[in-house]
């Protein structure tokens, strides 16, 4: 049998090449970032609790909205799913580890430095990035504080980390599947991650290009985004969203994968349409490349462009619908139980679909003229990001935690957390639809009196939702330290797949001898 983990704390975690340890590092890092980004959100909601500037100044408010977006997207959600991929993909395909273990270590350890640098700008002269997580030029170039250079470097580092992580996943899945594990037998979580990894490899360099052009404009006198020098501020938006739209699917596709694992388990019934799920995922990934300018419907594109992007965007509803229908028909005539992971997954299906509806409304360019850059958009993307990605990440942790640490979490506490999170989430974000339709733009540090009521409701919901996360943290720590020990490899009655054939808790090395898949 192979060696266990190093007994020395520092060499175990700093130099680890073990996919499980690195997965654990990613997951703890992402949770730390989730709390940090959540703290920024609390500052935002506290300031917006009432009209008027009470707690912070407008210039700090914009830094908070910017940092909240950056930390949540790049620091919390993406690393969380990379962590899950590290833990689960080798175990799901019967591989002993990731294909490139040292690169795996590097791709993780870049992240803490990137985010330390990014966050440190808040304490520097001039303050942190204050141009929104979409950092439109020229606000992010000519008019940015000097600390923008740290931001640019940070984005480069995150991009490098993501690209390495993705290449690792692609290499692992292509080369290290157990005998008999054909592509069309891979669990959906693996499928969605491979497709995500290809998206990442394709678009992260585009983001790197965008920030490099910014760097040149700021420091070396070029004019990529400055009309006065022959450039074009709108070019920035095209480049950014060519990255940015695939990015939102990078966030949501692994979440689809998680839910596609959990719903069959607790329905005790195989996924209804496995191959159509794979094809739907691939179609969504393809469409994500050709719809980017629907984020720019008010920028004054020619009508032909606007029509094209509207039609292409509407098309996304078809493969997304296929996925939702598949999840529901998987539940149909199953034998359902509602453990915490299942509750989060069902909430995911409902709330993500709701976010899909508002997404369809946003795709209609003429109506988007009214929705664009209002709280309606904020509500829409929190329905798909929070109730989508975060709920599914939470479901994944509850689902796989017993396998990881050999201890069962407290089911009652999990359910309590779910109900608080579910209700608080809706109290927070449902009213933001009304705010947006009534005319409140996003990224506003202050607002007219007509928006006061719903902002207060939304803030109360946000504080509750924040509190539910602390319960989550407590439950996870309690499970790892003091949870009821279990040793059933299966863990869940309806669970199917290679990861459930290894002992519980999963030993440091699994599948040193490849299993044979029939």
């Amino acid at each position: 049998m192979a060696h266990g983990p190093s007994q020395n704390f520092f060499s175990r975690w700093l130099f680890s090449t073990n996919h499980k340890d690195i997965g654990t590092l990613y997951l703890w890092f992402s949770f730390a970032m989730f709390l940090l980004g959540g703290f920024f959100a609390m500052v935002i909601r506290a300031e917006l609790f009432q009209p008027g500037m009470q707690l912070i100044k407008p210039e700090f408010f914009v830094q908070m909205t910017t940092m909240h977006g950056l930390v949540m997207v790049f620091g919390a959600i993406m690393p969380a799913f990379v962590g899950l991929a590290n833990w689960m993909i080798p175990m799901m395909i019967g591989a002993p580890d990731m294909a490139l273990p040292r690169m795996n270590n590097l791709s993780f350890w870049i992240l803490p430095f990137a985010f330390t640098m990014l966050t440190a700008t808040l304490f520097m002269e001039g303050g942190g990035p204050n141009f929104g997580w979409t950092f439109y030029a020229p606000l992010s170039t000519t008019y940015a504080p000097d600390t923008v250079n740290y931001f640019i470097f940070g984005v480069h580092m995150m991009g490098a980390s993501s690209i390495m992580g993705s290449i690792n996943i692609i290499a692992t899945v292509m080369n290290m599947r157990a005998p008999g594990m054909t592509y069309m037998k891979m669990p959906l979580f693996v499928w969605t991650w491979v497709i995500t990894a290809f998206l990442l490899v394709a678009v992260m360099p585009v983001l790197a290009g965008a920030v490099t052009m910014m760097l040149m404009d700021i420091n070396f006198g070029t004019s990529f985004f400055d009309a006065a020098g022959g450039g074009d501020p709108v070019l920035f938006q095209h480049v950014f969203w060519f990255f940015g739209h695939p990015e939102v699917y990078i966030i949501i596709l692994p979440a689809f994968g998680v839910v596609s694992q959990i719903i069959p388990t607790f329905s005790r019934k195989p996924l209804f349409g496995y191959s159509s799920m794979v094809y739907a995922t691939a179609s969504i990934a393809f469409l994500s490349f050709i719809v980017w300018a629907h984020h720019m419907f008010t920028v004054g594109m020619p009508i032909a462009g606007e029509l094209y992007f509207m039609y292409a965007t509407m098309l996304i509803a078809v493969p997304t619908g296929v996925k939702v229908f598949n999840w529901i028909t998987t539940m149909y005539k199953g034998a359902l139980t509602f453990e915490t992971p299942m509750l989060f997954s069902i909430a995911f299906v409902i709330l993500f679909t709701f976010g899909g509806f508002t997404g369809m409304m946003l795709s209609i360019a003429a109506a988007d003229t009214q929705y664009h850059d209002t709280y309606f958009v904020v509500a829409h993307f929190h329905y798909v990001m929070v109730a989508g990605a975060v709920f599914s990440g939470t479901a994944a942790v509850y689902y796989w935690l017993p396998k990881w640490c050999g201890r069962m979490y407290d089911e009652t506490m999990g359910k309590v957390q779910f109900w608080i999170a579910f209700i608080a989430f809706n109290i927070t974000f449902m009213p933001q639809h009304f705010l947006g339709l009534a005319g409140m733009p996003r990224r506003y540090s202050d607002y007219g009196l007509q928006f006061a009521d719903w902002n207060m409701v939304s803030s109360i919901g946000a504080f509750l939702y924040g509190g539910a996360q602390l319960l989550f943290l407590y439950n996870v720590i309690r499970t790892i330290g003091w949870g009821k020990p279990i040793d059933d490899p299966q863990v869940w009655e309806g669970a199917v797949g290679l990861e459930w054939t290894v002992p519980t808790p999963a030993p440091f090395h699994t599948f040193s001898t490849p299993p044979v898949v029939k």
Partner: protein, 380 residues
């Protein structure tokens, strides 16, 4: 706070607050939940397609979630069911791909018609150039020689809670844009510094104000009134503080107003040579400073360390007047200090320069007159 919470819940129960209850006029927008229907062809087209979408989504939602809740009720393990083992059904899978596709094609028709209306910017009766500045709007009536800035009128005291908030908190400007009824008005929108976005919900007009480019939008309405909108593209720390206010007046009234504005411009040109006293300039300067400078350099003149330089004890404010005027006229390249030559009048520039040189313990003591500013401009 309790009172407001109570009113909110009562409001929720009343039928008028239902999501689908339709439009509420701009003035009584306090309990509004839905998009306003607005007063132009474009805003009404947007509203109509918005409602079509809401109904389509509602129907699909009821069907899909209804089925889902039925499954969650009927097929629970606790009811003693055993799981079936079926999967894949080609017919079902083809149907649930084709039916949504057909719904989309049906939706695309009204969506296209509505969009064509948004883009119908040809043959206007009046052209108005709208320029976004950090953080105010400038309106220019093309061919009329009328041009003015429209800035937030709400005081810093109201914003920072040192004074009670007025009824029109953050929805009031120094000078609203004025347009006539029953004329097709085209807005040619651009930005001066960063990207802004000019939005009037009741007109269904939202177009980005991009520096170096022009975007176009249009409005024609037969309903006089005051319509309030916002800047909707993040443009820096004053993003929330540059509302759009448009007054629609009957044609005759509009003509009268326009004539008045032209007269004002002529009168101003003739009085530019007037000599102002020290105190007159201080009063005027403080007002201009509060509106146009305090956002960055702060009301106490101390700026924000590392971002916006202090004016108190600054070598420019204490140096020769000419250099100080020059900064306002030319701006500082590569920084957020823009040129104010187009934004402020000669009187305003003179007053604010004078104020900065003699406030917060700065004590240059000289007097800067409007004519000095004019001379500086002409010597360029």
């Amino acid at each position: 706070m309790m009172k407001r919470a109570k009113a909110l819940f009562l409001g929720l129960l009343s039928p008028s607050s239902l999501l689908l209850a339709g439009s509420v006029s701009a003035e009584s927008a306090t309990r509004q939940l839905n998009m306003p229907r607005g007063v132009t062809e474009v805003s009404q087209a947007a509203y109509d397609i918005h409602m079509i979408m809401i109904w389509i989504c509602t129907v699909i939602g009821v069907l899909v979630f209804g089925f889902m809740f039925y499954v969650m009720y009927a097929h629970r393990k606790s009811r003693g069911v055993t799981a079936a083992n079926f999967h894949e059904n080609l017919v079902v899978e083809i149907l649930w791909t084709i039916i949504p596709a057909l719904i989309l094609i049906v939706m695309a028709v009204p969506a296209t018609t509505a969009l064509l209306k948004v883009y119908d910017t040809g043959n206007p009766d009046i052209d108005i150039k709208v320029t976004g500045y950090q953080w105010k709007w400038q309106y220019e009536y093309i061919g009329e020689g009328v041009k003015f800035m429209s800035e937030l009128r709400t005081s810093q005291d109201e914003i920072y809670g040192r004074a009670p908030k007025g009824e029109h908190y953050l929805r009031e400007v120094t000078q609203p844009l004025v347009i006539p009824t029953n004329k097709k008005v085209r807005f040619l929108i651009t930005g001066n510094d960063v990207i802004h976005s000019w939005w009037v919900p009741d007109f269904g007009v939202k177009r980005d104000a991009v520096p170096g480019l022009f975007t176009a939008a249009w409005a024609k309405t037969d309903q006089p009134g005051t319509y309030v909108g916002e800047c909707t593209e993040l443009c820096g720390l004053g993003h929330a503080f540059m509302p759009v206010v448009v007054e629609v007046k009957e044609e005759a009234e509009y003509e009268e107003w326009l004539a008045g504005k032209k007269e004002e411009a002529a009168l101003y040109a003739s009085t530019i040579g007037k000599q102002w006293t020290f105190d007159e300039l201080m009063v005027k300067g403080e007002e201009v400073y509060g509106r146009s400078c305090a956002g960055c350099h702060q009301a106490n003149g101390e700026g924000i360390a590392g971002v916006f330089p202090a004016l108190k004890d600054s070598p420019i404010a204490l140096g020769p007047a000419e250099g100080h005027i020059g900064i306002l006229i030319e701006g500082v390249a590569g920084s957020s200090m823009q040129s104010f030559a187009e934004q402020l009048s000669e009187v305003e520039i003179a007053a604010v320069v004078h104020y900065e040189r003699n406030a917060w313990g700065n004590d240059v003591g000289d007097i800067v007159q409007p004519i000095d500013v004019l001379n500086f401009k002409q010597s360029q």
